[in-house]
Amino acid sequence: MTKILGIDLGTTNSAMAVVEGGEPRIVENHEGNRTTPSVVAINKSSERLVGTLARRQAVVNPKDTLFSLKRLIGRRFEDEEVQKDKDLLPYEMKKSDKGGVEVKMGDRWYTPEEISAMILQKMKSDAEARLGEKIEEAVITVPAYFDDSQRQATKQAGEIAGLKVKRIINEPTAAALAYGLNKEKNEKIVVYDFGGGTFDISVLEVGDNTVEVKATGGDTHLGGDDLDQKILGHLLEEYKKTEGTDLSKDPLALQRLKEAAEKAKIELSSSMETEINLPYVTSDDSGPKHFVMKLTRAKLEELADEFIKKSIDLVKETVTGGAKLKVEDINEIILVGGQTRMPAVQSAVKGLFGKEAHKDINPDEVVALGAAIQAGILQGDVKDVLLLDVTPLTLSIETLGSVATPMIEKNTTVPTSKTQVFSTAADNQPSVEVHILQGERPMAADNKTLAQFILDGIPPAPRGTPQVEVVFDIDANGILNVNAKDKATGKEQSVRIEAATSLNKDEVERLKKEAETHAEEDTKKKELIEIKNQAEGAVYTAEKALRENGDKIEANVKTSIEEKVKKVQEVKEKDNQEEIKSATEELVKEMQKVGEALYNTSNTKEKEGERKQTEADEVKEDEGNKEEKNGKSDSDDNSK
């Protein structure tokens, strides 16, 4: 069974993906890029160039470099759109015998289908080389507003490229598929697609496994490129104002500035300010000139404002006018297209709908990934036979201070197994209690108890020494087995919990919501516990040190430590984080003095220790009693 390729045939860039192991992934092209420019050219020696190569030579060969074919495919020559684009595109076009469009490349006329086929052909052969298998079938996406003739022409393009087109699907539908939103019933989805050259808005309605397009809108000549132009214009103008030089006349300077502007735009999505630094950008009679300018996110947003406002107006118009819905009716929003990475775009969309949009999947790739998922469905992938479940909630174990320590995180695919070693919290602790919890809250008490058991018979040992291995294992039927084993004695105890994964959806949602609403107080609570645990640990170490090395410690230091220990124990009862923290810190600091003192005494005796090498070895062998011996007699110096 060969794979079906999912293809996003874009106006400026195209991308492809396949489903592997039930998950879609982007297939890189021959050049190693995840997207391929939708550009085709023929050079002087009648060689055909597609993608990056075609774009690189566009300036040399403007008449024979074809791009934006998507604007022409399946349209009639008289269409208003075509007439408008005719003046913007540098290549020649004419009316075909059938009333469609034909474009000239080299000395031949081609239909837009044939040119698009060349892009598809490259993608097909690049995918074959990457995947090491023949590709014969494809799912291709088109904008939701494409009419029958445009869809038919796109399908033909695929067929000319040697692909059997299993289905033509809408780009917004593909995006919804990529986010797995096709299963929800009666949901209304808005797909906001702000690409490089076009802005598309679609309103979808999902019902019984079908996705219906309720309305489409947008602007076919609004995109990220407009913003890039505007930023460049701003930089040129500012430079002219401050330096008096017009950089637009110098092609290299312009090129460098263009690249730097794009980089700055991307950088400003994650930082608030960036500096464009182009030394020796140009030179005049007075010598070399440099371009150094700060660009803030605020300035960028000011520049982008008109485009964003326009896009939001178009969304409103499409939702209320086109789909006859209210903004509040929309359940989900999906962001597509590189421009939606801009925080200002995201917050404008959020501002309109009052909820977060889906944006986790790379917006340049989401459509191709969705196409691959559609291909996977058509292929009837193995997924149907082998449906793997996930654990809806985190499974944890209660540890010191009533903290829920996660063993298996939520959304882990089952069957799975996790092992972790725990220890005791007190000296000579004879047993441990294994308390199994389910839920997202960090404190044990706030989660649901699934089971509880006790593993006893642990031989007496200082705290932290025994090793209890706990195994959480969920089988394919969602049955959780928990086993605890004392590594020293081999003694074990286990419990079996049925239906650890099969919670009803409402309950899962409720628990997740709860975790969200309590997130802040929970973190505080957990922090407090952690600080308390640290304090306890410090007290334990201090007391142990006093007990074992008491005679080596100077009396005044000893009293001071005892005081500090007392202070820690006092404040520990009150729940003031800062107080506990500072008391603990003081204690630890004081303890360092003891460490130094002990180290010095052992240092002075080092030489002596060397002579007593044989004796020291004996002590080492006797691991179990080492600490005791160490404390008992200072004549028994083992130079540690």
Binding site: E20, G21, G22, G32, N43, K44, L49, L53, A54, R56, Q57, A58, V59, V60, P251, L252, Q255, R256, L278, P279, Y280, S283, G287, P288, V382, V385, L386
Partner: protein, 155 residues
């Protein structure tokens, strides 16, 4: 009665065998998918490393560009200029260690989009389609183009 029972059992067996084959097939497929995925993941990881290196290299190349432009603008041969030239050599040598090489461009050779990008076409006495000036150096890394050379071409 017995016959009927036999038939029923046979059908059940058939059904069970069919299911077994289906499951075994699914299991094998999943296992194979996983093994393949692991293999590919290894390759992908190697690619990620090179492309991450590539991104750093690209940024370094930009610094080298500026340095080159700076040196061009120094007209007098001073010890300071010499020092800067040595820094440039140092940077170029460092890049070489990572498999980065400058794309060699000859004025007069035919424009080749495999390694070059055309910034501008100009009227010239030179034959049409040949390079008349290299405006910015291009680089390859392990034979792959990291950045094409920017050139001016004769109209």
């Amino acid at each position: 009665m017995k016959k009927e029972n036999d038939k029923e059992l046979k059908n059940k067996l058939k059904e069970a065998e069919k299911q077994r084959d289906e499951y075994l097939e699914g299991w094998k497929r999943a296992k194979a998918d996983f093994i393949n995925y692991k293999k590919e993941e290894g390759e992908r990881l190697a690619n990620v490393v090179t492309s991450a290196e590539g991104a750093v290299i690209e940024d370094m190349i930009r610094v080298l560009d500026s340095l080159n432009l700076g040196l061009v603008s120094c007209r007098e041969e001073t010890p300071e200029k010499k020092g800067m030239e040595l820094i440039r050599t140092q940077l170029e040598d460092a890049l070489k260690k990572y498999g980065v090489e400058k794309i060699q461009i000859e004025v007069g050779e035919e424009f080749d989009p495999n390694t070059q990008e055309c910034l501008e076409v100009l009227e010239s006495k030179k034959p049409k389609g040949t390079i008349i000036e290299e405006v910015e150096a291009g680089y390859t890394m392990h034979k792959k183009v990291v950045r094409p050379a920017k050139v001016k071409v004769a109209k």
